[in-house]
Subunit: 240 residues, 2 copies
């Protein structure tokens, strides 16, 4: 049976981290809300759902309804062959994923530092200040951590394309690829500057699309373009 | 062997969610950084750590080093008897924990909406705007979700003290208890107002300290008081 992925249509957003895993594994899935928003909203709003997700994205697998991006990937990882078999590897992969998620939230807050319920234009001065801190302090700190992990992993010695955990592609490699994609879209100047100090992260970003199924997905119309409704938004005034 | 918990001394912070689980289960643990900050910093900074945590809190269990609060609780839950046995229950409990963590981050950002690297005083106007949105929109939305979960769980029918998952205390009950404690400390007026619409959350908050080990901990000097260096800070100008 197909997995059902429910996420806001029209943006990559947090749903994309799940989508990349499903696509790279060649797993059968339906992107439900692209055809039927009502089905998604029923899971969120209907009193009969005993374990309702707080927000999209969420995955439906038979009777199971799983929300929270990192929890979805924790669940899918072993089923899609996108994580190591040991408890230690699975927990470490999840821990890196949660840290990716933390940075994604900080990126979101550069354009919405005051309230998600307000327009960007109504919090633009604050957005400039917050983006400046993100690009000066936070992005370099996170990239240095990913770089250290890639450097210290013994399975990466001598490899052209490193992996975050073990010797094979895992879902968190896909997520770091997406993070670099997003940062490079939103902040082309600052991201390029920061990535110069993270050569292994760059090598991973370049190498991930060697996965043929992923490359086919990225070239397809299923891959939405980044835009200014998503998490990674290109507002040139924030890219300093 | 004892678990080692590493977290900034002097504040409850995110470490407290782990501490409550260890205390409620009566698990042997050492709060390392309260005596030895150097040991904590070594894990963060030393190149020889192959899988370094990004930030405290982290747990050391033998050779395993586990960062990210929710991942630590995912690991500890089954070992401490603080989560159900099925994969579905464990994933659902984790999903709720991740949602608690999201709100904790939003609370942190009320006093640091621009940058963690700046003082509160340097971002106070922004803090007022962000706190207003949090208390008007976000806290009620999260509390309504917790309330719905408590209401819909069939095991809570007729119970004086409800649980988030199943019929027994789980680590996420402890986390929701702590969240209510923190909100009530930081925003006494707004939290009381919001909690009036979440009677089951209030009942859980009142009932959790019936766990005797937890009650003993809360009355001990090991339980630090909330203060204005932690996540939940009482700045009266933000409590509207």
């Amino acid at each position: 049976m197909s997995y059902q992925l429910h996420y806001w249509p029209g943006i990559q957003g947090r749903g994309e981290f799940v989508r990349l895993a499903l696509e790279a594994a060649g797993a059968p899935y339906v992107d439900v809300a692209r055809g039927d928003m009502e089905a998604m909203l029923r899971y969120l709003d209907d009193d009969s759902v005993q374990r309702p997700p707080f927000a999209p994205p969420f995955l439906v697998d038979g009777k199971k309804v799983i929300g929270q991006t990192a929890a979805i990937l924790l669940y899918l990882g072993p089923r899609l062959g996108l994580v190591g078999k040991s408890e230690a590897d699975q927990l470490w992969t999840h821990q890196i994923q949660l840290t990716v998620a933390d940075l994604v939230t900080e990126v979101h807050d550069t354009h919405h530092p005051i309230a998600s319920s307000l327009y960007y234009e109504d919090q633009q001065p604050e957005a400039k200040r917050r983006a400046q801190d993100l690009l000066k302090n936070r992005v370099p700190k996170f990239l240095a951590w990913f770089e250290a992990i890639l450097e210290r992993s013994p399975r990466n010695a001598g490899k052209e394309v490193p992996h975050l955990v073990g010797a094979r592609l895992s879902y968190v490699d896909l997520s770091l690829f997406q993070l670099v994609e997003g940062l490079s879209y939103a902040f082309p100047k600052a991201a390029a500057r920061a990535l110069r100090k993270a050569p292994r992260v760059l090598a991973l970003h370049q190498g991930v699309p060697r996965n043929r199924r992923l490359a086919a997905y990225l070239a397809s119309e299923r891959r939405l373009l980044f835009n200014e409704q998503g998490i990674f938004r290109r507002y040139p005034e924030l890219d300093r």
